[in-house]
Structures are given as C-alpha cells and as structure tokens.
Amino acid sequence: MALIAGAEGVREALARFLEREVGAPVTVAACASVASGTMREAWAFDVVLPDGGQEHRLVYLEDRGGSLLPSRLLCDDEFRVLRAMHDAGLRVPRPYWRVGTEDPSGLRPGLVLARAEGETVARRVLRDPAFAAVRPRLLAELGEELARIHAAPIAGLERLPRARAHQPSVAAQLDELEGVLRAIGEPHPTLELALRWLRAGAPDCARAVVVHGDYRLGNVVVHPERGLAAVLDWELAHVGDPGEDVLWFCIRFWRALDAPGWQGLGPRERFLDTYARAGGRRFDADTARYWEVFANFRWAIVTLGQAWRHLSGREHDLELASIGRHCAEVEWEILRLLDHAA
C-alpha cells in the first residue's frame, strides 16, 4: 500500500476505511488538518453514514509514532479507556473506530472519534473575548469533571499500567522517569535532587483511581457557550493516585491558575475545593506539595524526552527541539518547591 499524503490522500483513505467498517459506500467531506500536539496529526472530517443520513463530525487522530513516555498506551488501550469513560457519562469524545497497523485503507494507526466543538488552545481560552462568558465557571467545571473521572469504575480496564504490588503507587513511575533521564544521559542536578526527595517521601495511595495522566487546560475542549465540552488525550492514562492529576493541572508551567503577576482562570483553592466538593480528595499542604514536585519532575523529564526525539535523530523537528529549552523553567519551579519543603 502506497503511503498516503496530504488532506486529499487522507480523505480518500478514510473513505476506504469507513466503507469497510460500515459495509456500504460513504462520502467523506471537508477533510482538513487541525491543530494537535506533537504526538499525532489530527484530521477533521465530516461524513454521512448509511445509518439515517445524519452527518457525523469526526476527527481522525493519526499516530506520528512518538511517545511522551514509554508507558504511553497503544491505540487499542486508549480506545478502551475512551469507551469506558464515555459509557460512564464523562465528557470525552465518543469513540467510533480504531485503525490498526497496516490497515488496507493505507491509513496509519490511530483513532476515529467524535469531534468536540470548541477551543483547545489554552491561551485563547484564557484571553479571547469569545470565552468571557464561560471563563468564570470553567475552573469549577474542570475540578468537578476531574472528580468524576476519578470516580469512574476501574473494572474492565485491567490492561492499564498500574503500581506493582507492595509498593507506593508512584514507585513504578519514578522508575520509568529515571529510566528516561538515564537514557538521555545529560547531567541535571536539580532533577536528581527532586528524584531523591520524591523517592524518600512517597505517600500511601488512599484509593487508586483511573488517572488521566495529562489533565490540563491544553487538553480539554472549551465551548464558548457550553463551557467544558470534552477531555482529550487519554494516551497517558493509568491507575494511580488522584493527586497526580490534581496537581499536574496546577503546575505553574500551564499558566492555568492565578499566580503572582499572572491572571489565570482563578485561584488554585477554587480548583482544589470544587474537586473535593464533587467527591474528590482533599489534600493537606504536604501531600499537595509532594504531588506538585512530582508533576513538575515528570513534566521536566517529558521536555527532555521530547527534545531527545529530535536530538537522537529519529524525528528532526523544530518544535521538539525547542521544548528542550523549557526544562530550566520547570527546574526553577522545582527548586522553589524544594526550598519550602521539609
């Protein structure tokens, strides 16, 4: 099968894929590349399926083969998580199909999902007047939705990565992150300090939950009238401590929360409070600091890993390369947090 290229090539391959899935000819209209992360290419398209003539607004997420972390889910498992979350009534895009490896349509492996209407670029959600009406309530919605995710049933998701028996839930992840740091092999004394501190202080996990793994403003769809519309990008989902997601959302790097000299969606306390009132856990200051250091450490390792995708020669890419220079900002925050820690 020849490699497909460009929007027209993807459109034709999608038509071939869908015809086989639904067993009848389909017409794919308006296929266009849309903004996505560094992990995959996103193609928005509309299609009329032979199920009553209704138009389906879909997106095909095409794997670029990269990986934020080694434990990243394969398409099949991400699809299962999406299905479970969708069935649980959570705000996720309805999953339609998964595209396997070497699909006869010529498509690369990926997912076909419903396309949630709205904005994913955090900067626009924070600043664009179009979102002024929903901004005041958005932080509370994000806190509540995260509590609902953490209340979702784990049953049926046995294949998700999880902690080893008789170990703190975070130990396996610290091993993974340290593995990335060692593989890259460059000296980062601040990250070594953080790693020692995290290993020594791992809190007991009161209740293991489905952790989204990358819950932040840039990974949700916000509609200008309806507010929080969908939570995207479940490829780092795993079973773990809810503190991971809660404080990951809070790290300074995303600029989602108010900070000295910065206006975000609101104060951190509002996010933590709505999360707790919606059934989530309330974190004491020490536990919150632990997960905040962990989140920054994890993000620092991801920035190094992204730059390494470029430096190793596997994927020459300007954006990946530039991410390497974000690490210092995250290290700066880690030093601030460690300075205040016991």
Binding site: S33, A35, P187, H188, P189, T190, E192, L193, R196, A200, L318, E319, A321, S322, R325, H326, A328, E329, E331, W332, L335, L338, D339
Partner: protein
C-alpha cells in the same frame, strides 16, 4: 574578524523577518505557529551568545567550590569550558545520587548553587518566567 553584520545582528535580522513578514503572511495556522517557534528560538540565541563564556566561567567556579575542587588553570577555549561545566555537573549528580545532599548544610549550598545556575539558564531561555 568577520565583516558586519555580526552573528548577533544577523540573528536579529532573521528573527525580525520571521516575526514581521513571514509569520503574518502565512495563511496556514500551523505554519504560522512554527514560524513563531523559530523566531523564539532565535531570540533565545540572541540572549545566549553575548556573555556565554562569562556565564560558563561563573558556573564552573561555583561548581568547583561546591565540589571542593582546585583548578589550576581555567579552560582556554569555549569548547573546553563547556566540557568542564558538563563534567562538574556530572560529578555533582553523582554526589546527589549517593545521598550527600539529602540533608544538612551541604544540601543548602547545593540548592543555592543550583538556583544560580538555573536562574542563569532561564534568563536566556525565558526571562519572563523568572
């Protein structure tokens, strides 16, 4: 001696062209975004090149003091200076991994030294985050 424009002046010219002409003229939002990433990378280099040797020397001096190292003569080339800072940072990482900085006065000295080094890196990469 190279003719003018200097490397710094050339970097600035390219960055300004990307910001003012190339990016605004691009209809494709993805390409526009990438042009702005490129401009930002050039801005980092504009901050990095002036005084790079001075910053590396300061970092090396601080690391040598922290690691109780005597250095007879400072590295003579920028390349040797970079390598010396890299080696000293590796030695510091080794000691942190051994637990030497888990607690006590040396931990405080390590934290102070790293604050200096990371602040210097951040002043180049993204001074607005300091």
């Amino acid at each position: 001696m190279q003719d003018r424009p200097t490397s710094l002046e050339l970097l600035r010219a390219v960055r300004e062209a990307l910001e003012r002409e190339v990016a605004p003229g691009l209809a494709d939002a993805r390409l526009r975004y990438r042009a702005l990433i490129a401009a930002n990378v050039l801005r980092i280099l504009e901050r990095e090149l002036p005084g790079e040797d001075r910053r590396l020397t300061a970092e090396l001096t601080a690391l040598d003091a922290l690691l109780d190292r005597e250095r007879g003569r400072a590295p003579g080339t920028l390349e040797a200076l970079r390598q010396a800072v890299l080696d000293a940072n590796r030695a510091l990482c080794e000691r942190i991994r051994r637990g030497d900085a888990d607690a006590g006065p040396w931990r405080e000295r390590v934290l102070a030294c790293l604050r200096e080094a990371v602040a210097a890196a951040l002043a180049v990469n993204n001074p607005s985050a300091l």
